[in-house]
């Protein structure tokens, strides 16, 4: 939750530089509500990528959320339809982490969905407020002169990758993705990004098996 504060602010700050309007920025936080996908979309927008590729990338980046629904399926399927819609809309990484812990607690409390709703509303409000703060800050920075703001995205992304680098397979995956991204850089419509992502994932999984065997 606290962890999302800088992300929200940075997202708001960067989106202005990428040429996304204020309404677009807030709209994205209101309707998409998916941190990493929003960041990546803004990065792609900034480099003039066409929308179908952005949507495709969103699909790949958010595909992991399918696992969250799968994990909570047992519990969610007993709830009324409206609850299902609302709760799954807000099923972000953070909400999942909190809610899964609560659902899996072994007691018969019938109010666990309220707990998830509460944590979700909290996250949602937090995320949108921070986007707004970042948006205002970004406008002010640009007036000062936009120094290094084009590098801010790179710095932010590096800062976001580093916590993942904990084991050898992840290093392998990231390394493979970086190299392939360079090789396929010339491909039209940023398709190279998709290629690099698939190659990176494959490298990670293969490396994992390779090291397990030894």
């Amino acid at each position: 939750m606290i962890g999302a504060v800088p992300f929200g602010i940075i997202f708001g700050t960067l989106s202005g530089g990428a040429g996304l309007s204020a309404a677009g920025t807030i709209g994205m936080s209101l309707f998409v509500f998916a941190g990493s996908a929003q960041f990546i979309a803004v990065g792609l927008l900034g480099s003039g990528t066409m929308w179908p590729i952005i949507v495709l990338t969103t699909f790949i980046v958010n595909f992991r959320h399918l696992l969250y629904t799968a994990t909570l399926l047992e519990y969610l399927k007993r709830l009324p339809r409206l609850w299902q819609v609302v709760l799954t809309f807000g099923l972000t990484d953070e909400t999942f982490a909190v809610a899964a812990g609560r659902w899996l607690q072994d007691n018969g409390s019938p109010y666990k969905h309220w707990y998830q709703l509460g944590s979700m509303i909290f996250m949602y409000t937090n995320w949108n407020l921070c986007t707004l703060v970042g948006l205002v800050a970004g406008r002010m920075l640009q007036e000062i002169g936009g120094w290094g703001l084009d590098f801010a995205m790179v710095a932010a992304f590096i800062g976001m990758v580093i916590p993942y680098l904990k084991d050898k397979p992840t290093y392998a995956a990231v390394f493979a993705a970086g190299i392939s991204a360079l090789i396929f850089h010339g491909m039209p419509h940023k398709l190279g990004l998709i290629m690099a992502a698939v190659i990176g994932m494959t490298a990670g999984v293969s490396a994992e098996r390779l090291w397990e065997r030894h």
Partner: protein, 100 residues
């Protein structure tokens, strides 16, 4: 984007239990966020400002800034510090290049 994100999160409910995600797939998906971010960073740093040639030299402030940011990130383990110090290094290097 909103539609795609929501359908992924909600989509499984109506199909309740008919899809089974294998442990393998689950495992592979862990790599998605770092991999996609890296695939965006690397070309942005080595082909700065839409250049068409690979720019590997100390004259490339993006490259120098990115390397500095990685080091800072590894040491500080704090996102905000990483971004601010990374940007400062980039700005400083750009300034040095301009002076030379």
């Amino acid at each position: 984007m909103a539609l795609v994100t929501f359908s992924i999160r909600y989509g499984l409910l109506p199909l309740s239990g008919r899809i089974n995600i294998s442990g393998r797939m689950r495992n592979a998906l862990r790599y998605v966020p770092p991999v996609v971010l890296t695939a965006i960073i690397v070309p942005a740093v080595l082909y700065p400002n839409g250049q068409t040639f690979l720019h590997v030299s100390f004259n490339n402030a993006y490259l120098v800034g990115a390397i500095a940011t990685v080091v800072i990130g590894k040491l500080s383990k704090n996102l905000l510090i990483t971004i601010v110090c990374g940007m400062a290094c980039f700005g400083l290097w750009q300034w040095i290049l301009k002076m030379m």
